[in-house]
């Protein structure tokens, strides 16, 4: 549990992590949460778009895109 938290946007492509800190407010985060991205949820960064933004993540078995600016507010603990 002592592992350092990093921004979801800084996760390496292909790596998995567990969401540890998730913003309580903000339009993007309310919807992301309702789509199943919650504290404790496992995510995998699948790829970035050809121009580096947005990101494609895999969460609860499906693929979702979000922009880097939004992903930077989500802190994750990378899986070892």
């Amino acid at each position: 549990m002592a592992a350092a938290l990093i921004k979801l946007s800084d996760l390496t492509v292909g790596a998995s992590a567990t969401v540890r800190k998730f913003p309580a407010q903000g339009a993007a985060f309310i919807r992301l949460r309702e789509m199943g991205l919650l504290t404790g949820t496992q995510v995998t960064l699948v790829r970035t778009a050809p121009l580096g933004d947005p990101l494609e993540i895999k969460v609860r078995g499906y693929h979702l895109t979000l922009r880097k600016v939004d992903a930077a507010h989500v802190l994750v603990e990378p899986a070892l």
């Binding site: 339009a27 919807r31 199943g36 494609e56």
Partner: protein, 707 residues
Amino acid sequence: MALPSHIAAAPASTGSRTPIYALVGNPNCGKSTLFNALTGLKQKVGNYPGVTVEKKVGTTYSQHGQPITVIDLPGTYSLAARSPDEAVTRDVLLGRRSDTAQPDRILCIVDATNLERNLYLVHQILDLGRPVILVMNMMDLAAQAGLNVRVARLEKELGIPVIACEAVNGKGLVELRVAMSRSDLPLARHAWDVPAPIAPAVSELAASLVEHDRKQPLIARAEALLLLTDQDSVRVAGSTPLSPRTTEILHHWQKRWAAEGTDWAGTLVNSRYEAIGQLASDVVLRAGTVGPTSSDKIDAVVTHPVWGWLVLGCVMTLLFVSIFTLAQAPMDWIGTHTALLADWVKSHMMAGDLRDLLTDGVIGGVGSVVTFLPQILILFFFIGLLESTGYMARAAFIMDRLMGRVGLNGKSFIPLLSSYACAIPGIMATRTIEDPKDRLVTILVAPLMSCSARLPVYLLMIAALLPNDRVSLGAKVGIMLLMYTLGTVGAFGFAWLFKRTLLKGAPPLMIMELPPYRLPGLKDVALQMLERAGIFLRRAGTVILGISIILWFLAAYPKAPAGATPTQQLAQSFAGRAGHALEPVIKPLGFDWQIGIGLISSFAAREVFVSTMGVVFNAESSEENTAPLRDALKAARWPDGRVLFTPLVCLSLMVFYVFAMQCMSTIAVVKRETNGWKWPVFQTLYMTGTAWVLSFIVYQTGHALGF
């Protein structure tokens, strides 16, 4: 937690009235396919009054042949609405829309391959206290993905009918129909505990909603939960403001939670997902891990930093090549047959104003719009194909960064690109953009993308500008490309401007599901294409007909003395006089009154400019062969003997056509899509204003430089 007594006592049977089912589900879960499979062609497509959201209502039949009404509600991930579409789903389910009867029962469709996220919406819907049938779609794909979805188990846990289904090939429809025919649908044995810190607030809010906001007791609890999940969602279109008392209660609790450090919305969503997680782990058995799916393999190429662009380029090229090649024959056919129809009417009616109104006004005017129908249909078909295969989302994913530079998101890409062929399907395709401001900006700039109706004008002007024999093909292509570039730069420039000034908003979200690739349901795509074309013809038809008649009247009256040539008639008609009246305004652009007539008449459709010039300059010419008209244009002079169509004037005129809103069909469609005259009027003014300013700059600069 036991259900409140009023929910348990909800009526499960509708008596003798035709029962109404609402069909709801996440986007991409096969909802439209199921709706089409259930109702076939017995569908009515319209609009919800006050918003531009498609209203689809169909009829299906019970196993005993009794009619059942099905309302296909817009797909959503949550009842806490974030867009006008989602607000419609919420409001119909909550019985808030006076134009739509509250559904008696709810048909909830979920994607079996992606159960957890899909069950979130189901979980919210079970709060509504209505009988629900759960349709577990895509069972075949779930099996392929190594998932064993135990439908019977889910049915037992929820206490409602759960139907395994494969909507694409009709599997499970019989069982669904049987379930829909039941008069005694059970209510869900749906037990989830609202987390302790939130529960008293939910009861208090629900009570206040009943007392002060006149909400039905049955759904007050669901309303209170939505309010706490996403407070902003009450502000989304179509919502009535909360009563002061309820607002007060809400603020009181929020202040208290904020002081305690309780993330109320997060707690609510978490607790739902906890309940769902338990349910899903009971119901779904994973048969080991499977390797990358075929969708993953396709995406490795399609969203690849290099191959991705190549695929996008190929898809778009294919789209445009097929529009221009496939549409040509039917367009010619329509052109010929409207002419034949006009001739037939001419030979069967007495000569007179009524005949001319019919042939020149109605048939001619509407014909010039209908000519574009093949193109519009093909575009609708391609857009439908891109949507249903899942490629649309990938194109948006790839293009998002570029579109983000002007403040839009990737979803505006396809509508804008389609507008190169025709702005009408492009504008109608903006419905996939959730944010109303982004959608409006996309609609406002879409007609700046050079559409195919501008081509004849460009071609004629290039022909007049650069005589065939002396100039290389390269110069002509270069000018053409310049016009397309000008339009594109204009579109993005104005999008940037509007997003910063008039329609300022938060940077658009790019939260979008990338659904697995699927084979397109051709039947669904074709049905959607016909629906959209029907909407265009029906809704735009009246405006187009009206403007056609006005334009005809302007050109036909007042009557010239008997024996006048068409050229003389046009010259002294209202249109001719308007051309004269317009001359002082357009003279600084290098245009005279005769070009003015062309500008006025091509308001019907840009390519009408060519035929009007033919009448004005008395030159028989067709779109394919502009040579006689070109020579006539070259011979045209100002009264003082100067050449009218100098190269500079041709250029100025082309620039004018790049920017001016010369298309009544687009105006009609924008009116429909924005629900009023405000935006189409604004759009016409800003586009035509820009056209004037830029033509002015081109002409005056060129003039000063001695051209």
